[in-house]
Symmetry: C2
Subunit: 341 residues, 2 copies
């Protein structure tokens, strides 16, 4: 691959698209040429990239000619249609949607966990679900030392996970609520102002789990390469703009103490411990927003397991960064190193 | 006790105080005379009660002379000072604070669970913590049929639990945020607009649990009269006005199915099942606000326990009603029936 690759962004006008640009800038990601792709609606508009205006082009069958790296954040349907076209044109695709995540031929990568899988790609590398990334970055170094056999998660997920329109709906519906005005939901299934609700994905009528929860369960097993890890999860949308939080309880094969967890996490890549009991200062969405690390706090013995095998903690991470754009850019940075022989 | 008792409300100007008045009205609670008590700051103001103005008096040592029932929602310090004075004056006190809850001489009552304990009172009956009430009303009928041995809760708690000033802070800080203005937190320890944080009670430096969590653990054991039930809990304050939600996972002594849970809860007092997988409609704070019942939904197998002993569900209840004023009025209604011989 060239030192200064041609990079395409599919979905450049979305919430994650904007963070692709900002994250590449911030990390000094080398770009020979940027191709800004979006729907016909945005074609002809421009975005700013490193002091230059880049004209947005409509995503089509010819968009990927000459492209080295294609970053997709345009939903599963677009990815299913255009990622194979990009691969055929010679690009390596890093896709943020769920379309290819469980495909056995597609590496599902969190660089802090399984960067080495990148080299197995056949053109597409999948970026995991944001709620999965948020939990797994701090759990992985623990799991390596003392296998996690049971995991129970409750999420507090921000509007950003449903895109820029959902963030706008949270803001505008709250503004209307404060004025005593009605605001019929457009993007979300339920009123969002000062409210929370089950994650806005379809529910499996048999299991009762929503799609977000099913993703967390399946992706955890694939990323950890551990089919036996038992995961229970409740995904909830809360009226927060852009960082996800999660209350996590995990049970290990061997006894574990909070001091051991703290020692492991204090050296873990991508993790920042925020755990001040005296000041009542722990991970919060407003602090995690704009930050790269997963913040971890409230590390303590799970009192529901007297055997001493379980720990509870509370985490926060920027859904648009580590949950999406940052993780994808980290993958893209590693693609040349892990190029197939 | 007289048919039309003299009722005192200590803390009548607070968020719960207002709901005492509304709930008595709505339920036709018989009141011979109402004594409205608050701090000196509010003395001389009036409140409306059944078409009449009642002048607010400053709470003092003489406030309880001639009072039959005293409803306290004025914090632990006031309760510790004035509840014994009220009892000495001949009143039965129903206290909303945590001051007396763990006192072995004080019944801790959720009428749907342990109304019979009311008769053991020695003048004071304690109203449980709102997060505990919300979880325990639906868990009790399950626990009676198939003992719950392990319970893991994550809460999504509304501003109302911290009082009227906290609700105001959520509204005003959100209004400021939408205007791009700063709003230094006054009541809450952290910015509240579009944010969430660990519950605003002190953290035990040893265990890492906050006081709210410790209350839930201890009160569950006292109310269920089961010292072995193992409880792990994470209490989180979310930017919602007045109803608490909880993600609950419980493990029973014997195998249990979601159909069994649904059958039990469909006949449980104080419970309303809201569990529509097709419409993605489950318990939400805006629906629970102003309602008496604890709403229960997302009833499903806990996939982290392959043995089939565990169920997950999501609940919502009005913190000011079943979590506080309603439960206290329900207790007060039962006091005459359970008067000591």
């Amino acid at each position: 691959m060239k030192n200064d690759p041609v990079v395409a962004i599919a979905g450049v006008t979305g919430a994650v698209g904007a963070e692709f640009i900002a994250t590449m800038d911030r990390r000094g990601f080398r770009v020979g040429q940027l191709r800004a792709l979006a729907s016909a609606r945005s074609a002809g508009k421009t975005i700013d990239f490193r002091g230059q205006k880049v004209v947005i082009e409509e995503l089509n069958d010819k968009s990927f000619e000459g492209v080295d790296i294609a970053l997709f954040s345009a939903g599963g349907g677009i990815a299913r249609k255009f990622a194979p076209i990009a691969v055929k044109a010679g690009a390596v695709v890093v896709d943020n949607s769920s379309a290819f995540r469980m495909d056995p031929n597609v590496p599902l990568v969190i660089p802090e966990i399984n960067a080495s899988r990148i080299r197995e790609h056949k053109g597409i590398i999948a970026n995991p679900n944001c709620a999965a990334i948020t939990a797994l970055v701090p759990l992985w170094p623990i799991h390596q030392r003392n296998r996690i056999k049971r995991l129970i998660l409750s999420t507090y997920q921000a509007a950003s996970g449903a895109g820029a329109a959902a963030m706008e709906e949270l803001i505008e519906s709250t503004r209307a609520n404060l004025k005593g005005e009605a605001y019929p939901p457009k993007v979300m299934p339920h009123p969002y102002a000062f409210n929370l609700f089950n994650h806005n994905t379809a529910i499996d009528p048999e299991t009762g789990y929503n799609d977000e929860e099913t993703k967390v369960i399946k992706e955890t097993r694939k990323i950890f390469e551990d089919d036996r890890i038992a995961v229970g999860v409740t995904c909830v949308r809360v009226p927060v703009l852009r960082a996800h939080c999660e209350a996590i309880t995990f049970e290990c094969e061997n006894p574990i103490t909070e001091d051991q967890v703290r020692a492991i996490l204090s050296n873990a890549p991508g993790v920042k411990i925020v755990d001040d009991r005296t000041k009542n200062y722990f991970p919060m969405p407003i602090d995690a927003s704009g930050q790269d690390d997963v913040m971890v706090g409230r590390i303590r013995k799970d009192l529901s397991d007297p055997s001493g095998h379980s720990i509870s903690m509370f985490v926060a991470a920027d859904q648009l960064l580590k949950g999406a754009a940052l993780n994808a850019i980290q993958i893209a940075e590693l693609v040349p190193q892990h190029a197939m022989a």
